[in-house]
């Protein structure tokens, strides 16, 4: 682990087979560098959670590849058994801190379990390691004997984070880690995640529907719509000058906690709902709701292409459109 510019390139194309096809995640590609945070945003049903779960092989991907680490192993092709040594290097933080902790285990058991299962620590060393982890996430060492019900939502999320850190992972997939929390607690957890990223040199895939939270934590952001990435660029560029009409509409839909700015902004109200992913529209999936759509959008599916350094967008008209950010 010396090379700091290690790549985790990911190319995937996933079709979950049913009677027809529900293309939950439909050919998405991105890469994450060591220490980087990639935000995945989109509305419900856009495939962001499915994408995250495929990375951990919690759901087997239908096709595609996921090259991980400096060994450049393709995790998508490994058997269940071969996958084991890699599992400890990719961990997950879940949305609901109430459902993701076993109520009958103490905090010490919950945080220590990954190490017991993987036989990395035992006995007194295990205990010390658990205490160290609890302190790293801002809990006290005496919390080790308490049960999850004795903690508030924010503290439970800290337990989940300690568990994810137990095996010293390189990549953490955080699926809506703060959406179940109160506003004042949400800020604490976001700060903790940022702090741990520096301390342990972690990479995050941060999945969330809240654009302002994603902007805050991410270096780069990928916007998903109906199983595809429509735009990916660094966080600031994305919000200041979006290149895809869907990104523009998403940004416009977020109510700003600033009454006078909110009165002056132009509000783009998208008509209709996200289409049924089993019967996606022809051409560009976004065209029925897009106010800039022309004939070509109905016929041809735009490819994700590079339009500027670090900016990729899937829109036929991205060169000519002048879209507004915040």
């Amino acid at each position: 682990m010396h090379d700091l510019r290690k790549y985790f390139p990911i190319q995937k194309g996933i079709f979950q087979r049913t009677i027809g096809y529900v293309k939950a995640v439909d050919g998405i590609s991105f890469d994450i560098q060591r220490g980087e945070t990639l935000g995945l945003v989109g509305e419900s049903g856009c495939g962001k959670t499915t994408a995250g779960r495929c990375l951990l092989r919690l759901i087997p991907p239908t096709s595609g590849s996921f090259i991980f680490g400096e060994e450049e192993v393709d995790l998508a092709k490994l058997s269940h058994h071969e996958m084991r040594p890699y599992r400890r290097r990719i961990q997950m933080i879940f949305q609901d801190p109430h459902a993701s902790l076993n109520p009958r285990m103490t905090v010490g058991d919950i945080v220590g379990e990954p190490m017991r299962v993987n036989r990395t620590e035992k006995g007194a060393a295990l205990h010390d390691r658990v205490v160290e982890l609890l302190e790293a996430v801002g809990l006290r060492s005496q919390d080790i004997r308490r049960y999850p019900h004795a903690f508030s939502g924010g503290q439970r999320q800290r337990i989940g984070i300690a568990r994810a850190l137990a095996l010293q992972p390189e990549l953490i997939v955080a699926d809506e880690p703060v959406s179940a929390l109160d506003v004042s607690v949400q800020a604490q957890i976001l700060n903790l995640l940022a702090e741990l990223r520096e301390k342990f040199h972690l990479s995050y895939i941060f999945i969330a529907h809240d654009l302002s939270v994603v902007e805050h934590i991410s270096d780069r952001v990928a916007v998903m719509y109906l199983g595809k990435i429509v735009e990916i660029s660094d966080a600031e560029t994305l919000y200041q000058s979006p290149k895809h009409p869907y990104t523009e509409a998403l940004i416009s839909a977020v109510p700003l906690p600033d009454p006078s700015a909110q009165r002056q902004r132009e509000h783009i109200r998208l008509a209709g709902d996200v289409p049924d992913p089993s019967q996606p529209p022809t051409g560009c999936y976004f065209h029925p709701r897009c106010r800039y759509a022309t004939d070509i959008c109905k016929q041809e599916t735009p490819e994700l292409r590079q339009v500027a350094s670090g900016v990729q967008v899937a829109c036929h008209h991205s060169d000519t459109l002048e879209l507004q950010g915040v």
Binding site: S212, P259, Q262
Partner: protein, 344 residues
């Protein structure tokens, strides 16, 4: 539109004073709503913000005498100015099961909830459910009620209303269900709509549609809205006045501009600083409020916020009163419950 309401003389619709709603539990009495006072004027939107457990939803339910058992309103007044009557009616004194309360619910004060799926009955068509509300409150036959239902469905922007009227809730998307809820709430033209986290379960683009719809219908029907939410963005978008609640009490209230641009209570200030704002240069660390919301049975002595407050001082061991301060905008009241702004 909202500025028109602000300049016109305020006509009171609802005055809540000293409202206290309690829940007796095995471990003691929980004061879910404690000494809450605020006013809602006709046609105005009042936003009630706070974190989970602060009593904002229970305040909304108290106004309709819908507090779930064993909870009850212990003291306080809810003066409701009904159409065509000069003297207000104190809802706090009306029995929850009385005929009078039934008349008020739905036809004069309506409520919409966060989760549209659990608020709709899955075994009846949406047309049936809207028509039921109309028949309950007005002397009309089934056919007229159905026509009114179709009209309401069209009005809330659901396409193909004649077809949709016969569909079941599961056939609709989340945004459409919330529109049905709004149609049902507004079918009897209430003077007050209580919206409890109306868009929390919805995606942002759908949230924008529903909030836009609520604004349009408010302008059209002139009803007042009590908007309960934890989302400060939604408050900034819709509210004229804001009530900030913490641990069952009102800690600050004022116009939306006063609250967002000149917050006085350390809790309001902390809350506003701790949310990431889209487009503001991302800071690495967000200023956060330490600790968590206290448990309602073990509230700290004095000011409930003092253990988390960065401005804590000796006086905070006693509960401050909600007092008026000179608001930064003219003619407007700005109240705060904090010793920093109160004479000892």
């Amino acid at each position: 539109m909202d500025s028109a309401y602000k300049t016109s003389a305020k006509k009171p619709l609802l005055e809540i004073s000293g409202l206290k709603t309690v829940f007796p539990t095995d471990d003691g009495i929980v004061n879910a709503v404690n000494d809450v006072s605020f006013e809602i004027s006709r046609g105005q939107t009042v936003g009630v913000v706070g974190e989970s457990g602060c009593g904002k939803s229970i305040t909304g339910l108290s106004l309709l005498q819908l507090v779930p058992s064993p909870g009850r309103i212990e003291s306080g007044e809810i003066r409701f100015y009904r159409n065509g009557e000069d003297a207000p009616l104190d809802i706090a004194q009306v029995s929850p099961k009385s005929e009078l309360m039934r008349q008020i619910r739905g036809s004069e004060i309506a409520i919409i909830f966060q989760e549209p799926m659990t608020s709709l009955n899955p075994v009846y068509t949406i047309g049936n459910q809207i028509a039921e509300a109309i028949i309950l409150h007005e002397q009309v036959d089934k056919k007229t009620a159905r026509e009114r239902a179709i009209e309401m469905i069209a009005r809330v922007g659901i396409p193909a209303p004649t077809q949709r009227v016969d569909e079941y809730p599961h056939q609709l998307s989340g945004g459409m269900r919330q529109r049905v809820m709004i149609a049902m709430a507004l079918c009897c033209s209430p003077t007050l709509l209580i919206a409890d986290e109306p868009t929390t379960a919805l995606d942002v683009t759908i949230q924008a549609q529903v909030l836009g719809l609520m604004q349009e219908l408010q302008a059209e029907l002139g009803m007042a809205i009590m908007l309960i939410t934890h989302d400060l963005g939604v408050i900034a978008d819709l509210a004229d006045e804001v009530v900030v609640m913490y641990a069952g009490r009102v800690v600050e209230k004022g116009t939306v501009d006063d609250i967002f641009y000149h917050p006085l209570h350390p809790y309001t200030q902390g809350l506003l600083k701790s949310i990431p704002v889209l487009g503001k240069t991302p800071q690495r660390t967000l200023p956060s409020i330490p600790g968590t919301v206290p448990h309602p049975l073990t509230l700290p002595t004095g000011c409930s916020f003092q253990p988390r407050c960065s401005e804590r001082m000796g006086e905070c061991e006693r509960m401050p009163e909600l007092v008026g301060v000179n608001g930064k905008t003219e003619n407007d009241e700005h109240d705060v419950r904090c010793w920093l702004h109160t004479d000892f």
